[in-house]
């Protein structure tokens, strides 16, 4: 039986691991390769490196990190952050990573996902969605500058993808954000996930911006809504504070995999403890 995956995530800036709270407060936390080996020994099912290096000149640093990791660690490795071109993807895959996670570039130009999937195969194209619940019932009108041109220019896609005022919606709504959660794009996260699947994404990495760094647990409603809307695997992310949160993400959120950073990073729990907890609750895991 296919096991549910436990995925530790490492935020990497300028070649060092950092972990932010709500994408802001950043603290240094070590060498990425050492961290990767540590998680490998604990039996992590996959690893995600999120490269939050700001400057483009320093992009090569992550390639070196990936290459060194792939020498010692033989498990699936995903890299996200700052991927803008097919060459970026090729370089990462050649360095030894297996999947790339793409967020901002997909929103700026969805056809990029189609091209990337055709060139490298859907299995290595993960679309990362940073989603935030829309609370304002009057529906804030977005800065029109934030709505991507391709969306403004297509009536057909606008009807499907653009957020509608809450008054017209029976369901809760979530909005897609880019640039590490800073820029709201006026796009409905559920419809966006479906569209990304259609264009060739092989997996969705779904982060709740409301929950990220809070330790209050996943946004289960969001996770379930996306997982039921697409037929590709969904990784739930954002908000894990204890092991029951992982269990809820799988059972109530219907996630195929659960991602967490700080609970593993600050040694609150080991991967093995997480898996034993899940197994005792009847979830298939690899132990």
């Amino acid at each position: 039986m296919l096991a549910k995956r436990i995925i530790p995530c490492l935020d990497v800036r300028d070649g060092r691991v950092v972990k932010g709270v709500k994408f802001l407060d950043i603290r240094d936390a070590g060498d990425p390769v050492e961290n990767a080996i540590f998680y490998d020994e604990q039996g992590a099912d996959e690893l995600v490196f999120l490269d939050i290096t700001a400057s483009h000149e320093k992009r090569k640093i992550i390639l070196d990190v990936v290459e060194r990791t792939a020498t010692d660690v033989f498990m699936p490795l995903t890299v996200g952050g700052g991927i803008k071109s097919l060459n970026d993807i090729r370089d990462l895959l050649n360095a030894g990573c297996d999947k790339v996670s793409i967020n901002t570039t997909a929103v700026n130009n969805p056809e990029f996902i189609r091209e990337a999937a055709e060139r490298f195969g859907s299995q290595c194209i993960v679309v990362a969605i940073d989603a935030k619940r829309v609370h304002d019932s009057r529906f804030e009108i977005r800065d029109p500058e934030e709505i991507p041109d391709w969306l403004k220019n297509s009536k057909e896609l606008s009807e499907i993808l653009c957020l509608q005022p809450l008054a017209f919606s029976l369901q809760p709504l979530w909005e897609v954000y880019t640039h590490g959660g800073r820029r709201p794009k006026g796009i409905n996260a559920i419809e966006w996930a479906k569209y990304m699947e259609e264009l060739g994404a092989g997996e969705i990495l779904l982060t709740s911006m409301d929950r990220d760094g809070t330790k209050e647990g996943f946004d289960l409603e969001l996770t379930r809504a996306v997982s039921e809307a697409v037929s590709i695997p969904v990784i739930a992310s954002g908000g894990v504070g204890n092991l029951e949160h992982l269990h809820e993400g799988i059972v109530k959120g219907k996630a195929d995999a659960v991602l967490a950073a700080s609970i593993f990073h600050y040694r609150e729990y080991t991967i093995r403890e997480a898996k034993e907890y899940l197994r005792n609750k009847g979830i298939p895991v690899r132990l």
């Binding site: 490998d40 099912d45 297996d98 299995q123 092989g202 037929s231």
Partner: protein, 206 residues
């Protein structure tokens, strides 16, 4: 020396590093001469069946690989390296394979209301039907890493060495004489995966 065939697709580097880790002498190549001189051939790969065949054809390696396999040279196929051994695939219309084994490559299909996602991605167990020499150190029902949307349906069930359950029971290891192939990725399956690479390296040395 074992030749790892580089045809411009897939995670060649991980396979190479895996073999180096277990002490094997490997060479990543797309040169027919080196493949002919090698004591074993590894064909890794993820991606589309058609591109794989097309790239191998452009490199003029299709005949070389089939000829070497038929001469009895040890072959390890991984993922696409398993699928292309068969007669044809239904990926993007019908595409011809190497036809080393009779059979088809077909897509997972689950009914509406099924919770099963495609691709089949993650760690799943392999049950041995019979244990090939390369797999000596592997226990029954061990977990390996899979990522694929298509699986092989061999005409000759005699070549099925391992099966995995995902909605249906499908063939996850094929073995006949010198030919070993897995649907999963040993190079991504941590310690147990490396044991398979080690097993293949030892088989090649015999």
């Amino acid at each position: 020396m074992i030749a790892i065939v580089d045809y411009g697709m897939g995670n060649i580097r991980s396979v190479e590093k895996g073999f180096i880790k277990v002490g094997a002498d490997v060479r990543v190549t797309s040169d027919a001469k080196i493949i002919t001189d090698a004591k074993g051939i590894v064909l890794p790969g993820v991606g589309a069946f058609r591109d794989c065949i097309k790239n191998l054809d452009n490199l003029k390696l299709l005949d070389t690989i089939v000829k070497e396999i038929q001469k009895g040279k040890p072959y390890l196929g991984i993922c696409l390296g398993l699928q292309i051994l068969f007669t044809e695939s239904e990926e993007f219309g019908i595409c011809r394979g190497l036809d080393v084994f009779k059979g088809r490559v077909v897509k997972f299909r689950f009914g509406a209301g099924s919770d099963l996602k495609i691709p089949h991605m993650g760690w799943n167990t392999v049950k041995f039907v019979k244990k090939p020499p390369v797999f000596n150190e592997i226990q029954d029902n061990a977990y390996f890493y899979f990522v694929h949307s298509y699986y092989v349906v061999p005409d000759d069930k005699g070549i099925v060495a391992g099966v995995t359950e995902y909605g249906i029971e499908f063939t996850s290891i094929v073995w006949k004489d010198n030919i070993f192939a897995t649907q999963f990725h040993p190079e991504k399956s941590q310690e147990l995966g490396l044991k398979i690479l080690k097993g293949f390296n030892e088989f090649v040395q015999i």
